[in-house]
């Protein structure tokens, strides 16, 4: 019994630590532009938040379902162009421009439906190849469609904010997007929808045989992911004030997302956030260093990091660190009952084994 109570209090302590950590992170995130008011610094913050949103949106679909999409730039660029075109067409300027964000989200969702219906019919490598194909189709359209202005691209509607306020305001907008996306990803994880996505990741056919409507579940996640990516793409467009086909639909964009997710810990929301927070400011900083001018060196470095992660830390920082911590904590003590070690439960005969029911009423396992 005391065993039980102790377990209970550790759970509460863990929860308190988590909540405390979350509050602390939120406080740091909110205070950041107040402490560092220099636009050159806040610029790092804006891009970090943009990429936290992008990678979390990618996680909602790819992290849960196991379908690695490298066509997220389709949504990012389309979001930027949708915002530019709508603002130009309806003559929207100033802060009213932000009222177009829901419209941009709808455009992203609308693109995700046919994209998903085609791409999600196939799996694994074929799926990846099809997402790449979609990416190039959209980039070509951005070059050639009449309303996208070809290589010169589009300029964002004018915002009358002072240089300092400009960055700070965008920081908070991007932070709000990031927080909302993390919250959505977290809710999905708790929902049966999230469980079904992860079941699809492990064995899609088996999941279908247990009643999971796989196509509907995958498509829903893809649409949510696409809508969010389009919205944050348009925020990026308003922030950088312009978009060209090769920046909106950037081939490196998706590689960066995948790298961020894998570096932090593939399949984890925390992994997505951590990966974005490390890589995005890192590459931005490298690009500002004169000796790395042209940015090509930062790209080479990205590739090198990718190799190192895949070779030495294939599961990413958070799972690896978690494992290390558990090993430190349980050193000298027997590990938690390994499922495979104690033989079969049937050894007790036809009577069902004594019901231990650890955690049948508490928090479920697998909450990561």
């Amino acid at each position: 019994m005391s065993e039980h109570r102790r377990a209970g209090s550790t759970v509460n302590l863990g929860l308190a630590l988590k909540l405390g950590g979350l509050v602390l992170l939120a406080a740091i995130a909110l205070a950041f532009p107040q402490v560092y008011t220099n636009p050159a610094i806040t610029n790092y913050g804006v891009f970090a938040m943009i990429f936290v949103t992008v990678v979390c949106a990618w996680h909602i679909f790819s992290g849960n379902s196991g379908y690695i999409s490298v066509g997220q730039a389709v949504f990012y660029g389309s979001g930027a162009y949708a915002m530019g075109t709508a603002a130009e067409h309806w003559h929207v300027t100033g802060t009213t421009t932000f009222a177009l964000l829901p419209f941009v989200g709808a455009v992203g969702a609308l693109i995700a439906v046919p994209f998903g219906l085609i791409a999600l019919r196939v799996r694994r490598h074929t799926f990846i190849v099809i997402t790449i194909a979609f990416f190039f189709i959209f980039q070509l359209m951005a070059y050639n469609l009449p309303f996208t202005h070809g290589t010169s691209g589009m300029n964002a509607p004018f915002l009358t904010w002072s240089p300092t306020a400009f960055n700070t305001n965008f920081y908070y907008i991007a932070l709000a997007c990031a927080a909302a996306t993390i919250a959505i990803a977290w809710l999905i994880r708790r929902m049966r929808f999230g469980l079904q996505l992860r079941a699809i990741r492990d064995d899609e056919d088996r999941a279908r045989g247990l009643g999971v409507k796989a196509m509907r579940v995958k498509l829903t996640a893809f649409v949510i992911s696409g809508a969010i990516t389009a919205v944050i793409g348009s925020v990026w467009f308003l922030y950088t004030t312009q978009v060209q086909p090769n920046t909106g639909f950037d081939p490196l964009f998706d590689l960066t997302i995948v790298l961020m997710a894998f570096l932090g810990g593939y399949g984890l929301i925390s992994g997505a956030v951590l990966g974005a927070l490390i890589i995005e400011p890192g590459t931005l900083w490298l690009n500002t260093q004169p000796q790395f001018s042209g940015g090509y060196l930062s790209e080479i470095l990205l590739g090198a990091i990718f190799l190192v992660v895949v070779l030495f830390m294939p599961r990413g920082i958070i799972p690896t660190a978690g494992e290390y911590l558990t090993r430190l904590r349980t050193r000298g003590r027997p590990a938690v009952i390994p499922a495979t070690a104690t033989g079969t439960p049937a050894a007790a005969g036809s009577a069902p084994a004594a019901p231990v029911r650890s955690g049948s009423s508490g928090s479920s396992g697998g909450t990561r």
């Binding site: 492990d202 045989g209 495979t340």
Partner: protein
Amino acid sequence: MTALLRTEGIKKSYGGVHALNGATIEVQEGTVAGLIGPNGSGKTTLFNVITGYARPDEGQVYFGDQVLTNAAPDKVFAAGIGRTFQLTRIFARLTVLENMLVAAQTQDRPRNLLAWFGKDGWAHQRRHAMELLDFVGIDRYANTLAGSLSYGQRKLLELAYVLVADPQVILLDEPAGGVNPTLINLIADRIRDLNSRGKTFLIVEHNMEFVMGLCGTITVLESGAAVASGPPDIIRTDKRVLDAYLGADLEEDPR
């Protein structure tokens, strides 16, 4: 009495190979039916056709008064047919309990907003899932990752999560294959228990002792068609069956 599950003249070929060549079988409601035959006789293919994992080239699948031919796996499951696989297929990176919930949650719609989002909204399903894990004897592993279970335990988990949705008919593909004798007895016990409570079974199995002891009727498949069907005693001595499949093995009983 009409059959609960019936296939009629199922044909299915892969390339030039006729996996099924006019397979007609019947499973009566409330029975444990066996399906035996040499390797490559089409047993698993027939399972795949019934459960929507393969499309038949010809023929029909009937379930009660419904036609299930070409229905998708999730439709077949919703109609009340659950199955296991010869090589167990579990969700390795979900916990044992989560494995159970995947099946449970496709059954009912959550009743309120809390149920959509909160884990505790599924209290009823979780309780039911735990009862079933207890029933097959792996409840103490509820919170371990399913991937760390032993092969036999995976078989039990598969049986348990098929039961979650309370299907009318359960198709088991080699439930005793590669499992130790004690566990085989447990599995047989559980099947009898469920059958006494009205569940209908169709079992593919190579372990003759298991099949003969458990099944009320046995159908023999050979080269993609049913060559004989009847109670174990008849099948045991049927000339065609001995020729087609059992040979002298059964009389000598190598065990």
